[in-house]
């Protein structure tokens, strides 16, 4: 079975509940970004301490203080992003957004609550992630507790116009080459 929809099946998924793959990829990007930012921050802090005190500071991964700060940083990263715009950098890249269960904008209180219960996904060995697959509204455990949902929110119509524009330009310039996948066809709203 192919992962790409045929042009005949062009269905609008704009504002639909986002699926597990998009959400997982967005989460992977966020973990990478947050971890990279944390490591850079630690390196910067080490450098600053070394400049100010003359002592070289080394951070150990098993250090409880580092683990606590890392957990706090993760919480801030997700809670702030969801509270401010409803999307983390990873979600912005994948074109998805957190909203309230009824579709309204997520308020800061629910954003913080969602970030607080988000670690349950790891504490329960990833089982809550599977809920996204079977739940009819594709809501995970954190969503069910925080009263939130994740939807597609990228501008698929513009993406489709960009695709058509590129096709038109190629047709004029070089004849008619084989068409690549139409990006906006699936999620055009």
């Amino acid at each position: 079975m192919s992962a790409s929809a045929s042009p005949a099946d062009m269905v609008s998924y704009q504002s639909h509940y986002a699926g597990a793959v998009s959400r997982f990829v967005a989460y992977a990007i966020d973990v990478a970004v947050a971890t990279a930012a944390f490591v850079l921050g630690l390196a910067g802090a080490s450098y600053a301490v070394q400049i100010l005190t003359g002592h070289k500071v080394s951070w150990n991964r098993s250090d409880v203080a580092v683990a606590v700060v890392f957990a706090l940083w993760q919480f801030l990263y997700f809670a702030y992003s969801w509270a401010v715009s409803g999307r983390t950098p990873g979600m912005a890249l994948m074109g998805i957004r957190v909203v309230r269960a009824d579709g309204m904008t997520l308020d800061p209180l629910h954003a913080v609550l969602r970030a607080l219960v988000f670690p349950l996904n790891f504490l329960l060995l990833g089982l809550p992630f599977l809920v996204i697959l079977v739940q009819r509204e594709r809501r995970g455990v954190a969503d069910l507790i925080a009263g939130s949902a994740v939807i597609y929110s990228w501008d698929a119509r513009t993406a489709r116009l960009r695709f058509l524009a590129r096709q038109a330009e190629l047709t004029v310039g070089e004849g008619a080459p084989p068409a690549p996948a139409d990006p906006g066809a699936r999620a055009a709203g």
Binding site: H16, A101, D102, I151, L164, A165
Partner: protein, 170 residues
């Protein structure tokens, strides 16, 4: 040679007519006429049936007529804002086939050069593939769970507004 009697009669007649006309008070005469009654007796349809309007219009030089119209003065009296208020711009735009416009005009090249880019193209493709995989996983899960009915696809607040039917008067 003209008969002297006939000439005399002609002069007398002309004089009498002059006297009668000068004695008549035309305004009073017109005031006595019941124009409504008079007009009600006229069959305008029959009158128009006799008139060849095409021939009449063919004799009218429209260019000369238009040249005499001061369009600037006419336009100055038009309230454009009131006119535009009556136009449903959203409905107008929704009738435009944007995709055909992009494909068939230079607008496509403009969009491609202004918004295009390798990063944008990659991002569009990545998102599209992710949506495709989402649907694929969804189909497999439904198959495994033997679930036929689909859940709500969109949160209630984001549902598109219902389409209202418009009745057309016969």
């Amino acid at each position: 040679m003209t008969d002297p009697a006939e000439e005399l009669a002609q002069q007398v007649t002309e004089r009498v007519v002059d006297l009668v006309v000068s004695a008549l008070d035309i305004n009073e005469l017109v005031a006595r006429i019941d124009l409504n009654a008079l007009l009600s007796r006229i069959d305008l349809d029959a009158l128009l049936a006799h008139a060849d309007l095409n021939a009449l219009l063919a004799r009218v030089d429209v260019n000369v007529l238009v040249n005499q119209v001061d369009l600037n003065a006419v336009l100055a009296r038009v309230d454009v804002n009131a006119l535009l208020d009556q136009v449903d711009v959203n409905d107008l735009v929704s009738r435009v086939d944007i995709e055909a416009l992009v494909q068939n005009t230079d607008l496509g090249a403009v969009i491609a050069t202004s918004t295009g880019g390798v990063a944008t193209e990659v991002l569009d493709a990545a998102r599209s593939q992710a949506v495709g995989l989402d649907q694929l996983v969804d189909r497999w899960v439904k198959r495994l769970l033997r679930r036929k009915e689909t859940g709500p696809g969109v949160p209630p607040a984001l549902l598109p507004p219902p389409v209202t039917s418009v009745e057309v008067a016969p």
